[in-house]
């Protein structure tokens, strides 16, 4: 009974928060189960979700400051460079007169083909793009740096800053390791510049591309055929154009006695009882969430304790005003195992399973890189087994089991064929897109 009251209260709260002014981001805090077993310490998982309102209409959106970085090294000759040019023009056509566009091309050298400017001269810009020819090596770091310099020409103002990086190969001029590009991404994020990476073909370094995107809170795509490039760029532009919140900072605090143990699937900082995450930006209609594992001390029977409270600060992309929202969640302790089971929040648990699947994929890649194939296969199978038990214990719907089965299938494939370049890219991307709630997945 109490469970129902609690659930109803939660639902009403949710409704209340949902019916708040339509343009604001709302903060939802949920537990994987609202009733916890009493009398023993345990861990529980908190899901904090930020719901962004639906995307604004065309005329109301904030202006976009876009820089495209195109790889024109020798490996891009032929169809690839033609499709890349189509994609860039596709992106250009989706911008409006209040937006800014720049294009940096790189091989072993870096050149600003179109300096950052408003998009009024589209024919001229298009003709310049058409002239691009491919040859030479790959100075990826230089390309991104130059694009950032172009973006900085309009750093003041209320623009949404985005770099789209296209590459089909390995960086071999300048800093070329994933770590280097990861640091660049992190630094760009502080300037509110996000880098979306598009990898074409099977030869680019997906770790580099995903880490650059991840650290700068951009999207990442793996495109096997260059035919898909224009479609990807167009979709990405759709995303960029619908930013509703920027500089999104999420702080989650646990009351005395409770301790956050780890953040599942995201990077953030745990200081004492506080967790700080930088979620950078939210697109219209997007649901960005984070899962925190929290250590809960033993609770007395029928005691209700607050487990976590979340506070979200952000800047409204349209009005540039600082806005905040918050939420919290409590749990009740009960000795009744059935009651505990019935309080399962299957949605939260489902997301937990998905994140664990994503993390397992990353771990498998790492182990395969280290040459420990058997261990990788074993880890995947073990995780699949544990998830199977978890799903069964919590009576999660069958679809979760099928999703977990992916791990078993991947384990089989690794065992038989090893980790091909394409497979590795697919795994990496799936994990990234899952953990970052990327809207456009492939």
């Amino acid at each position: 009974m109490r469970t129902i009251h609690l659930l109803t209260a939660a639902a009403l709260t949710a409704l209340v928060t949902a019916s708040a002014p339509a343009k604001e981001v709302t903060c939802r805090v949920e537990l994987d189960r609202s009733v916890l077993p009493a009398g023993r310490p345990q861990t529980t998982v908190v899901k904090v979700t930020l719901d962004a309102p639906p995307p604004p209409r065309e005329t109301e959106r904030p202006p976009v400051n876009l820089a495209i970085v195109l790889d024109r090294s020798g490996s891009m000759t032929g169809r690839k460079i033609e499709k890349a040019k189509d994609a860039a023009i596709e992106a250009l056509r989706r911008l409006g007169p209040q937006d800014r566009f720049s294009l940096v091309i790189y091989n072993h050298q870096v050149e600003t083909l179109i300096a950052s400017q408003s998009t009024s001269r589209t024919e001229w810009i298009e003709s310049r793009i058409r002239e691009i020819r491919a040859d030479g090596n790959t100075a990826l770091f230089g390309g991104v740096s130059q694009a950032a310099a172009e973006i900085r020409r309009q750093l003041d103002g209320n623009f949404v800053h985005r770099i789209i990086l296209l590459s089909d190969g390995l960086a071999n001029v300048g800093p070329s390791s994933p770590a280097d590009l990861a640091r660049l991404g992190a630094s760009l994020l502080k300037e509110q510049i996000s880098v979306t990476t598009v990898g074409v073909g099977a030869d680019f370094n997906e770790d580099l591309m995903t880490q650059l995107a991840q650290n700068s809170d951009g999207n990442t795509y793996f495109v096997e055929s260059s035919n898909d490039l224009p479609h990807i760029f167009a979709a990405e532009l759709g995303d960029v154009l619908s930013v509703v919140a920027r500089k999104v900072i999420l702080e989650i605090e646990c009351p005395e006695g409770l301790r956050p143990l780890r953040i599942i699937g995201r990077d953030g900082r745990i200081r004492g009882r506080r967790v700080e995450l930088n979620l950078n930006q939210l697109y219209g209609g997007q649901e960005k969430y984070t899962l925190i594992e929290i250590e809960v001390p033993a609770g007395r029977v029928d005691e209700t304790r607050e487990i976590a409270s979340a506070h979200c600060r952000y800047e409204d992309a349209l009005t540039q005003k600082a806005v905040s929202c918050s939420g919290n969640v409590s749990a009740r302790f009960s000795p009744d195992e059935q009651e505990v089971l019935a309080s399962n929040n299957k949605e939260v648990q489902g997301e937990l399973v998905r994140n664990r699947i994503a993390l397992a994929k990353d771990k498998a890649i790492r182990l395969m890189d280290e040459g420990k194939k058997q261990q990788a296969v074993q880890e995947l199978k073990q995780e699949f087994e544990e998830l199977r038990i978890y799903n069964a214990d919590n009576r999660l719907p069958d679809v979760m089991q099928e999703e977990a089965r992916e791990l078993a299938e991947n384990a089989e494939q690794l065992d038989q064929d090893g980790l091909s370049k394409v497979h590795r890219k697919t795994l990496r991307n799936e994990s990234y897109q899952m953990r970052n709630q990327q809207r456009i997945k492939q």
Binding site: H108, V110, A139, F141, S145, V173, P175, R183, R262, G272
Partner: protein, 562 residues
Amino acid sequence: MKRSLILLYWLLLLVPTLWVGALTLDLLQHEEERVALAEHQAARGRVGSLADNLAAAVQDVEDGLILALTDLGPRPDISTLVQLERTHPLVRNVFLVDPSGAVRLPDNDTPLTREEQGFLDRYQALLSGRTAWDRSPQEDQFAVEANRFREAAQVDRKINARANLKLLAQYGQAADIQMEAVAGGGIQASDWIPWFWEDGLYLLGWVRTADGTVYGAEMETASLLASLIPYLRPPEIPGESLALLDGSGHVFHQAGAFEVDPDAEVYATAPVGTFLPHWRVNLYRNGAATWGKRTAVLSSLLVALLVVAVLCGGSLLLWQAHRNLRDAREKTSFVANVSHELKTPLTTIRMYADLLSEDRVRDEGRRRDYLRVITDESRRLTRLVNNVLDFGRLEQHRKQYHREVVEVGAVVRDTLETQRMRLEQEDFELVMHLPDQEVPAVTDRDALEQSLLNLVDNAVKYAEDGRRIEINLQGEADAVRVTVRDFGPGIPRAQRELIFRKFHRIDSSLTSRTQGSGLGLTIARQLMRDLGGDLTCRPADGGGTRFDITLPVPASHEGNAS
């Protein structure tokens, strides 16, 4: 003497021209070297100033960050440090070590992020106290700056102007800061440490407060380096490329006309300095940049061409002068000869005419002889004058011909008949070999006659002891040949073509004894050639000389051999 003068003139032309040419080439080579040197200096200057710009940029960033850090002092708040790391694009990690040496930031009590753990691993030696914070024994900021300035100067071998200026500007400030330190609670020292870890360069800035707390920030090298890239613009000179190389010698960034090969020869280089240790800016050139050398080669070629042109022109002029000289000489001798030749028959005519007019000759036979002589001499005179006139007309291309088909045998017979008497008198035997049938040819009758007469005259004049002249006529399929052969001393090989030259007379005792204009053969050949034939000279079998006149056959008779 005149000839040697011309040779002297030629030498006067040759020697200075060659000398000036050699001097110019030498000058050009020096100029090329000088230009190459200047270009190299300029390139070194450009590379040096670019390296300085990069160093200045890094220094500015470092100074700016240190300023931001010092502003947080003298008692820095951990949360503001964290805020700095969260918001400043150039700050990668922040740290704080309390006076007891314990690391308070990153906080070991909470789970460390991967980044924080990495930071602690990197600077383990520093944070644990194994390595000193200060890079120099002195601890005050002023001395630290001075040491940096000194170090920079030692590396760059020239005064680091900016550091110099900075020192000056900070003169008063350093004193203030020291006073603050004395007052208690102020900043004691600060510095930047270039830190090497696993092949990478990291930059750590730190500030020490009076109470011994050390705090600071690790620079986001990726962001710093990314902001250096716009400094490396492609060189404006075609054929040049530059590259910034990191501490391990890998190309960090390149710009220019061609892709840089790290093993290629470096045209100019400069180290960036203490702010990016072991980093350097390299400038490379490819073949396209050696236009300076091409210009040198081109100018050398032009100079050589000029020398050759001057020598050729000069030689031609001198050659022309020589020919003019020779022509003048020949004309002079011609005039002398013609005058003499005109004079001799005129004297004879006058003499005999005088005799006849004075009625002193009684004998009818003698009178007839005298008249005959007058007639002959007149004819000879006429011929001579005609020759000269013809020569004039030929020279001016005004000679008119009357071409017709003639029976050559008849012409030969008629012409020689007129000479028979004279030949007999001079004790010459004339033999004519003429075919029975007609031998037609297309020619000018008078011209043929004149040529034959010229040849006969020569045979008579230069026969010496050989008192026989043979005339031969042969009609062949494609030409008619008339041969006049004498039995004289013959003509030396060297002279066989020269004798056809105008005014030319073989210089021998024989010709000095006889009169001649030197035009006879010239005219005869020119006439024959104008009419489609030729006149040639060959030695005759059995001594003497033979002259062959060739005449063209009429078209319808070609193919009929006689």
